[in-house]
């Protein structure tokens, strides 16, 4: 259950639209069901009142839209950003992907977003309604007359279970109270994989990546993937491909993508959220984040605008690749 | 260094977290030590003797109990060697070796006199009441 309400956000947006501070509002629009929320651009108060929604399924990170929308829209864009979204926002600013002056950030607190897949696991298929009630979600299905109540925290998305920060690192205005940077267990799963034998690791990734259908959802939703033209779409890059021909190309796409966002990925978790095949893509990015933290000192992309990403930085006594392996772990 | 010395050294380094090879032999620790004259082995000697595995004499020495644990040497060492931690570790080793506390807290009052600094009292607890 979110602490702030749809109405609070609408009031805020309406007043900023009304006094001319912003010309449009980037937010979430309600869908067919209670959980299929779509990011949307609102231009009038009546649109907001009619369609705007905020709740446990507003997981989409809106920061990336600013790249295209600031180019398109006249005036400032109000964007609602949850704490983790503000990291992406800062990282995009660091990379000069849009003009800060064209965005008006309203930071909103987040109690963690629900994952509809987890709701279905607990309550069954055929969801006909999901509503929040206190710290519970009330779920009705097509097949049970009685609604099922589940704790909101039991259906949190993985990235919210392992939330890294409830602190907004960028905003023009804040609704509600700001939180703190949290110490999360987000690297535990990576560590678990690291502790496996190489054969097990290979089997794990071979299995996961073989599911990939190269729909590019992970890339296209990723706030770090804002290239004007991706190398994988560019025939002259030498790595272009539209579909993975075999396990090599499956791996290559994901390795190169993870490498390209290494040090720039804020760990917002959108890649795993959108993957239609439920591949735990965040575990690739987190591996790089964990390594970067371990090798070069803790670094959180997007924590501050203008910080120097670890891959465009160095110290004289950085670890050698060989030393990385001496530190432990198993090899074939 | 024989095997025993090596083991002793390793244990002390592990307990103290000190890396004696960082020492550049400047002697500032001894220069600054208020208990220097009371000590048979001085802070800089602790560092070099531990490094060379010459630990038995340190364990035997009364110097261990002369150190005030004032940490002046730690504060002033330009290389972050932290000699006091080394002294502390050797002392701890000695105490453990003897299998008993050297001084009980209740005995402390008896040995107090006007010249004993307050700091000594505190460090006595640190040292003896482990």
């Amino acid at each position: 259950m979110q602490k702030i309400t749809r109405d609070q956000l609408i009031e805020k947006a309406a007043s900023l639209l009304g006094n001319g501070t912003v010309s449009c509002v980037l937010g979430w629009e309600k869908g067919e069901f209670d959980y299929d929320v779509t990011p949307a651009l609102f231009e009038t108060e009546s649109e907001l009142r009619e369609k705007f929604v905020f709740g446990d399924f507003c997981g989409a990170n809106l920061s990336k839209y600013l790249v295209s929308k600031t180019r398109k829209c006249e005036g400032r864009i109000l964007v609602f950003l949850k704490p983790c979204d503000t990291y992406s926002f800062n990282q995009l600013l660091t990379e000069h992907r849009f003009d800060r002056e064209k965005a008006y950030v309203v930071g909103i607190p987040c109690e963690g977003m629900a994952d509809i897949e987890r709701v279905k696991e607990l309550c069954g298929d055929g969801i006909s309604s999901v509503t929040a009630d206190g710290d519970e979600l009330v779920v009705t299905t097509l097949y049970d007359d009685e609604p099922v109540r589940v704790k909101a925290e039991s259906v949190l998305a993985e990235r919210c279970v392992n939330c890294k920060s409830k602190k907004h690192v960028a905003y023009d205005e804040l609704i509600g109270e700001d939180g703190e940077v949290l110490s999360s267990a987000r690297f535990d799963e990576v560590a678990r994989l690291e502790a496996m034998t190489p054969d097990e690791r290979f089997a794990f990734w071979q299995n996961e990546l073989s599911k990939c259908i190269r729909c590019n959802a992970c890339r296209n939703v990723c706030p770090a993937c804002t290239c004007e033209r991706c190398v994988f779409d560019n025939p002259s890059s030498g790595v272009e491909n539209k579909a993975a021909a075999n396990s090599f190309e499956e791996k290559m796409f994901h390795i190169i993508r993870a490498f390209h966002v290494a040090g720039r990925c804020t760990d917002c978790g959108e890649c795993s959220r959108v993957c239609p095949q439920n591949i735990p893509l965040h575990l690739l990015n987190r591996k790089f984040i964990k390594d970067i933290d371990d090798f070069y000192g803790e670094y959180q992309a997007g924590a501050e605008v203008g910080s120097r990403a670890p891959l465009v930085n160095y110290t004289f006594d950085d670890l050698e690749p060989g030393e990385v392996f001496e530190r432990g772990g198993q090899d074939a | 260094m024989n095997n025993k010395e090596k083991l002793l050294k390793e244990e002390i380094l592990r307990m103290s977290g000190v890396n004696p090879v960082k020492c550049m032999r400047c002697g500032k620790c001894s220069g600054t030590c208020p208990a220097y004259d009371e000590m048979e082995y001085h802070p800089h000697q602790f560092v070099s003797m531990v490094e060379s595995g010459d630990i038995e004499p340190l364990l035997e020495s009364k110097s261990l109990y002369r150190c005030l644990t004032c940490f002046a040497c730690v504060d002033r060492c330009p290389r972050n060697v932290e000699p006091a931690k080394l002294v502390e570790a050797v002392r701890l080793l000695a105490v453990r070796k003897q299998g008993a506390n050297h001084l009980k807290p209740e005995d402390v009052a008896a040995v107090l006199d006007d010249d004993t600094p307050q700091q000594l009292l505190v460090s006595a607890f640190r040292k003896y009441a482990k």
Binding site: M252, I255, F259, K287, P310, D318, L319, P321, V324 | -
Partner: protein, 144 residues
């Protein structure tokens, strides 16, 4: 039937200023290493894109080694420092995916280290030979 002896294919990226010259010196001093090693000259080790490394494996390489100037000696002052970070992360990622560690290596070889170049290559070839053919990063379409 005679079993053909397994010969690995090694791609070595060498920076022009130190390691390529080191390889030349190994030649000048007739220090032999297996012919399986094929060198590609790059201006600096920092020119080596992880895509090149993967490309080599895709096309059939069994091992990829990158050689550059020693840290602090880079002709371009800082190129090899970036290489070091990039490759530490890339190799760690490959390891994470279960790819054998000994198939990749980053080595600093100066222009004076002909002997080190030859020794490094001998050692690398030996390690890769022990691993056998690259199966985990192969692209069957590129097999003969």
């Amino acid at each position: 039937m005679q079993v053909k002896e397994y010969k690995p294919l090694i791609v070595a990226f060498c920076c022009n200023w130190c390691s390529y010259a080191g390889a030349d010196l190994a030649g000048n001093n007739r220090l032999s290493y297996p012919a399986d090693v094929k060198i590609i000259r790059v201006p600096c080790s920092c020119r080596v894109n992880p895509m090149f490394v993967l490309r080599a494996f895709q096309r059939g390489a069994d091992g990829v080694i990158i050689c550059g100037c020693h840290p602090g000696d880079c002709h371009y002052t800082s190129g090899n420092y970036y290489t070091r970070r990039r490759m530490a992360l890339l190799f760690s990622m490959l390891d994470y995916l279960g790819i054998e560690r000994d198939r990749t290596r980053l080595e600093w070889v100066s222009a004076a280290e002909g002997a080190k170049f030859a020794a490094t290559m001998n050692d690398f070839v030996e390690k890769v030979t022990a691993l056998g053919e690259n199966k985990r990063l192969e692209d069957l379409r590129c097999k003969k």
